[in-house]
Symmetry: C2
Amino acid sequence: MKSKLHFKSDFSTIDKTKLFNAIEKEKESIGYYNLPEQNIDEILEYANNFDENIDTVVVIGIGGSSLGAKAIYEFLKPSNNLKRKLYFFESTDPININELLEKIEILKSHIFVISKSGTTVETMAVFKYLYSLDSTNSRYTFITDSGSKLDKFANKIGSKVFNLPKNVGGRFSVLSVVGLLPLALGGVDIKALLDGALKIKESFFNDGYLKESLLNKALFYAKYHTTYNINCLFAYSQTLKYFAEWYVQLWGESLGKKQRHSAFNVGVTPIGLIGPKDQHSFLQLIMEGTRDKSITFIKIDDFHKSLKIPNISLPHLEELDILNDISFSDLISMQSESVLEALLNEGDIPIDEIIIDEVNEESIGELIYYYELLTSLVGELIDVDTYNQPGVEAGKIILKQKLQELGFRFQD
Amino acid sequence: MKSKLHFKSDFSTIDKTKLFNAIEKEKESIGYYNLPEQNIDEILEYANNFDENIDTVVVIGIGGSSLGAKAIYEFLKPSNNLKRKLYFFESTDPININELLEKIEILKSHIFVISKSGTTVETMAVFKYLYSLDSTNSRYTFITDSGSKLDKFANKIGSKVFNLPKNVGGRFSVLSVVGLLPLALGGVDIKALLDGALKIKESFFNDGYLKESLLNKALFYAKYHTTYNINCLFAYSQTLKYFAEWYVQLWGESLGKKQRHSAFNVGVTPIGLIGPKDQHSFLQLIMEGTRDKSITFIKIDDFHKSLKIPNISLPHLEELDILNDISFSDLISMQSESVLEALLNEGDIPIDEIIIDEVNEESIGELIYYYELLTSLVGELIDVDTYNQPGVEAGKIILKQKLQELGFRFQD
């Protein structure tokens, strides 16, 4: 993985040691930092000895309980020969539920129910539905906090349960059992995934090549968070579509907060874009709209070279012969470079680039840990508690009241 | 369709006649305004007499050439019994291309090639690829500007061609042949679609119930476009996922501009959210983040009541019995209301609501025209040319140079 900052990021007058030390200190209490070195023997044993007749892995989870595993699975799916298919129930929308039910065969599926708290309304509603279709307890594995009501339920019915490690929040949990278990069952090389994450961790904490660049990028985003209150991730590959969704949750939920030491609401709004498609949707706004956006381009160096534009010439359309014999992936590469150049020419848009060498487990592990670190750094700098999400509670309380009122009505 | 503004929108001291008259005047030259009254006999004849052996409609198009038809198709698909399946090639990403090729059977498909200019790189690259697989000219219908090179090519090979009406830009073209033709072939009632649009048009231009509300909403968005530089559409139905993508293009490309009478870049950034899924991703940022977002909730009054949460009680999880026997769609309704209430309680977030009665052609026609009008109004107020997109040209020119250099290299 390479990282290039195209904006001025000389914070030489700022003492970066303080920031670095704050993160060093967080590392002692915040669980995600140390996931790359965890012991995965139990997960590997579980996955390696799994029933070979099961060809489908179903995940019931929402937000942090599904976005990470989905991002990794969808990134690897088109190029790796994965062992099992993964499907994600991540909404109570009956349209999603029906669509997914059409695709899976329950008798050939293993179902993960993932809820940190154990009482996530959407997850539990969908679980109840699937459980009413098939209540074979060995078909289900539960991932939840130790001691939660779901933990107790799972133990009661004798299903397999895994607990989340301590102090790992949902949106930072992809490299814990939450992501690793379903992925390992799917055939993903989770050791390589963690190795990728470890590479970034070591580079940052042991004075490697990414340390300065990460600190400078975070300092820039934090210093100008009111000017550039929007951060766009512009990925030139369909494989990164769900990574972009994972990033949106990570960034939005971590940084959109009341400040710890002020009464003010802060935050930087994340937007995930996929090229070249979104060139025809969002690019005009970046190019000529308000200068309120920073842009990170993500490019994969080498992928799917085989599909080529055929060497045919069409009457009246000879100008398009320029495309002949070019692979679609080279075309996308050139499109990404062209858009990058055009935006750089504007001179006043903060742009940086991340270049991934290959589509594999190590690369996506790197990318995930890179973004987690960046989020922690910016959170520290804009003075928020990066790891909580108090803002979603109010709606849950109102929902519970509404459900209770409805329940009373039923009893009449 | 109902519309409720929850923010203060009393612009009684402002002379709204000037704004209204500007839009009245645009109506004479900008083509989209008058699409609801167009003659669709030719389209209906084309669709009604189509080969019954063709069961799949393929659209090759990007941006405005595909997003609109896709939005309508995906909205109607789960509830209507449509006649043919529609697939959209809207990227040069080899992963998309391969995925779609696996799903379609070319010999049972009819293929639309849609490019206003006739030389859109992505569309033409994919067309060349499909044409190399099957060059039966009757399998293709072309939609392009009259006199374009693609128009000439299509006439030369004897395929059917339809031209876009004058002064209808790509992102405003969904209710023209661009959207209507593939949709009619798919079995969508395009007459009802246009009737829905006409209802909104008449309501606005003939002093109907939406006029004041649209003017006030546009005035608010425009007046505070630097304060609330982000507009979120929060739709509580998976069926509106692609409508949200259509809105992102419409809003972003239309409003992200240099002002006509200043040197400044302006624009409001569109974000499409789908509930309840994005409650677990983006809601924290809306609730506690910077007050830089206006939010429009879209709710469908009545849909898919049949799928229910089963009436089962699970040990240790009895608190979730509160969900028993509720339909998933009622749960979503309550979730949407709860989040809306919680956000209104904050007191300083500009929120409004759009409520759609039913999932049908008329509703989505209404919604489309409503958003087109709103875009025109805000564009007029923030002093941009709503209908051009000069910012995307620079990247295209650089790409052409890169392709030419590569061509020269090949010739060596």
